[in-house]
């Protein structure tokens, strides 16, 4: 295998897939490295067509899973079942340390978390890009919404995003395919909120699913509404690297994809003040190989990319590649959640729905947007995701306690219930961090990661407000038995870890510039969640795609101009 390439992409998830596609389509000979095993689209989704009765435990979280993914299930039990656990890493095999609790949810395989993600996609808005500067918090983003808007459009047209156009400044519209339908109970909620509030609304979840026609990739067609997305979709109906960006990169003939390749460091060439390539351990043979390239895209996921930079020490960078600012590993953010509300909805006894919708409803941020929406005791905002559905009847009343009548009852639908979960913004605090522990090494002799991060006063106050508001909204809609809950948030539970190699205008306070280049090593681009300067309150994957596509196209232009 040739060891010299035009470009190296580290990681094959949401960001790495996009980097691979853009760089290959621009004609660059590209090596794509993935630390985990190969997962082929469709062929390797071996549980995709299995029914609950095809699993011994009915597709639940077994004791074996409890032992294997004992950290990840603390907050991700809803996703780690018999049908999906093979996509989540074994926590025993891949240990990490917690100064403070942190759920590090990982998928080590080709496609990364793009196979297991929740597929909710929302644009950041100008409110998000301006907030740090306006409020004097951390540092300013080096870009604004207008810099990213065309790239949001570019990636959305390619991946397919279903949703409803609203024209809200705090939640800019995407390039939408038709939204999935609301249930009767959700329609009622939408109408009640519209008639009782003028500052907030209910809309369809915006999800990366094809709802009409087809999209490029490996035969990507319209969603079949099976809601088995986390097992891998044989229809390619939701966006994943495996069905979409990696096949596009492969089709150019320019991509070499190398699974089982753990990047241990980016090699720095002091003479030329640039990165010359990467050092890789083969995860199966432990063989070490070096690959050279003109540019490197680091897209290994927030924590892994930051680890690789921290491991890449040299005389010039004793604290990690590009870490002149000392910010590398700091400003760790996520979205705080594990709180929300539920209620029962009367009526609609003769109504039901068809298809298993892989999405739900969304309540866009409605606080701290200026004027009467401003709240005095915290900054930033939150949104809600959830659904109103009709669960099964579990038998009520003494004549349905057990026996023939009970048996009949449990075959019928029960009452309509609504359940909503809050997603709040976490501010970038310098002392929320991850760092490497060289005393505890993994089986490849690499240092393990230690997490030390927690939410603070702003987030706690926001949670209080969030719960009060959602409780009021459900009450005002006339729903019964409204119950709010706060199960207590700890870091990582949002699976939106970000910010540990942030973008900024000044190399003294940030790691990356406005095109995601390391300030002092311009041929290294970092475009996953680690680049985030603030977190916003929406699911971030769409932003990573747009940022990656933008950076990759910039990199190609700079290469052509011989600037890299």
């Amino acid at each position: 295998m040739s060891q010299e390439y035009d470009a190296i992409v580290i990681g094959t998830g949401i960001s790495g897939g996009w980097a691979a596609k853009e760089l290959c389509e621009s004609g660059l000979k590209t090596l794509v490295l993935e630390r985990g095993r190969m997962i082929r689209h469709i062929t390797d989704y071996h549980t995709a067509n299995m029914d609950p009765w095809d699993f011994k435990g009915g597709d639940k979280t077994t004791q074996e899973i409890e032992k294997k993914q004992y950290k990840q299930i603390r907050s991700t039990r809803y996703a780690v079942h018999e049908s999906t656990s093979h996509f989540f890493v074994d926590d025993n095999e891949h240990p990490y340390n917690e100064d403070k609790p942190f759920d590090w949810v990982r998928g080590y395989h080709v496609g990364g978390k793009s196979l297991m993600w929740a597929r909710q996609v929302y644009r950041l808005s100008e409110f998000d890009f301006e907030a740090n500067a306006k409020e004097g918090i951390a540092i300013d983003w080096p870009i604004r919404y207008k810099d990213l808007a065309p790239w949001y459009s570019y990636v959305e047209k390619y991946i397919g995003v279903s949703g409803e156009k609203l024209g809200l400044p705090q939640l800019p519209d995407s390039e939408f395919l038709k939204p999935m339908e609301l249930t009767c109970a959700e329609e009622k909620f939408k109408n009640e909120i519209a008639s009782k509030y003028d500052d907030r609304l209910i809309t369809n979840a915006r999800v990366a699913h094809i709802t009409e026609g087809t999209k490029p990739g490996l035969g990507r067609v319209t969603c079949q509404y099976r809601n088995r997305c986390r097992r891998g979709c044989p229809y390619g109906a939701y966006f994943s690297s495996n069905s979409s960006t990696l096949p596009a990169a492969d089709a150019t003939g320019k991509m070499t994809l190398r699974p089982n390749s753990i990047v241990t460091q980016i090699i720095y060439d002091e003479k030329n003040n640039r990165a010359s390539g990467v050092r890789v351990i083969d995860s199966e043979t432990n063989e070490v190989t070096e690959y050279k390239a003109k540019i490197i895209f680091l897209c290994a996921s927030t924590i892994a990319s930051t680890s690789i930079l921290l491991q890449s020490v040299s005389d010039r960078f004793p604290n990690g590649l590009g870490n002149d600012s000392g910010e590398l590993g700091h400003n760790l953010m996520d979205h705080h959640l594990r709180l929300g509300a539920s209620a029962e909805i009367e009526g609609f006894k003769d109504r039901y729905y068809t298809g298993r919708r892989p999405g739900g409803i969304y309540i866009p941020r409605f606080v701290n947007l200026g004027g009467s929406t401003n709240v005095s005791d915290f900054v930033r905002g939150y949104g809600f995701q959830g659904s109103a559905k009709r669960g099964p009847n579990n038998g009520n009343g003494s004549n349905e306690a057990y026996g023939p009548k009970f048996k009949e009852a449990i075959q019928t639908p029960g009452p309509w219930k609504i359940n909503l979960g809050g997603f709040g913004e976490i501010l970038p605090y310098h002392d929320n961090k991850m760092y490497l522990n060289y005393d505890k090494k993994d089986k490849w002799g690499l240092p393990t990661v230690t997490f030390d991060a927690e939410i603070k006063e702003n987030e706690y106050k926001m949670r209080k407000h969030l719960l009060q508001q959602i409780g009021e909204m459900l009450e005002s809609a006339g729903f019964k038995n409204v119950q709010t809950r706060d199960k207590g948030y700890y870091y990582g539970a949002g699976i939106h870890e970000m910010g540990t190699a942030r973008m900024g205008r000044d190399k003294k306070t940030s790691v990356l510039n406005k095109f995601n280049q390391i300030h002092s090593v311009k041929n290294v681009f970092v475009t996953d969640g680690s680049c985030m300067t603030s977190s916003g309150n929406v699911n971030p994957s769409l932003t990573y795609m747009a940022i990656t596509a933008r950076a990759a196209n910039y990199a190609v232009k700079e290469l052509k101009k011989m600037n890299l």
Binding site: D51, T183, R351, T412, P413
Partner: protein, 215 residues
Amino acid sequence: MDRRKALKTIGYGSGAITLTPAVVGLFHSCQNNSSDFFPEYFNKNQFFIVSQLMELIIPETEIPGAINLKLPEFLDGYISIIFSEERKKKILIGLESFIEVSLFDSEKSNPNKLTNEDLDFQLSKYLKADLKKKNSWKKQESGYQKALHNKNKSTKLPKEALAYGFANQLRSLSITAFRTNEYIGENILAYAPIPGEQRGCVDLMETTGGKIWSL
């Protein structure tokens, strides 16, 4: 003799259950002599009682009952791979308490002698109890669990409360087993492995004939 064949031969079904002790004994001997199923979690006697209870909860109607659907077999495997050691221990204590109270109430000494009437009486006592009684059992049970948690070994077992907890849990596990059953999922409930379309608000009767979706 095959227990399932025996069930069919004697026409065990059509709703109300009035089995004589002799018939229960027949099942028991069938199971002991010729069943090729070896429970992973329950012992043979426990499995037998659990099977009878599940059949009372989900009896044969025009749709097969728990035993014909092999729901007890599913439950045995389910508990063995899903339940933690602590939950496993708890359900056994519940079952043993249930049996003990059943023996006491029926003035019998051997669990093998418990008839379907005896078991039906017990289920009715627990599952059809008024709310006040249920809440009092729940309180006793949680008090016991707390004491156990605090390693207070002298705590006396509130047997009836634990038996209630078991009956309630078995009812809910029977629902899980029923809805996770291939025959029920594919033939009795509304089955749509590949719906192909999504509509948010449709007429229940027109769409599924009043049944829930199985997936």
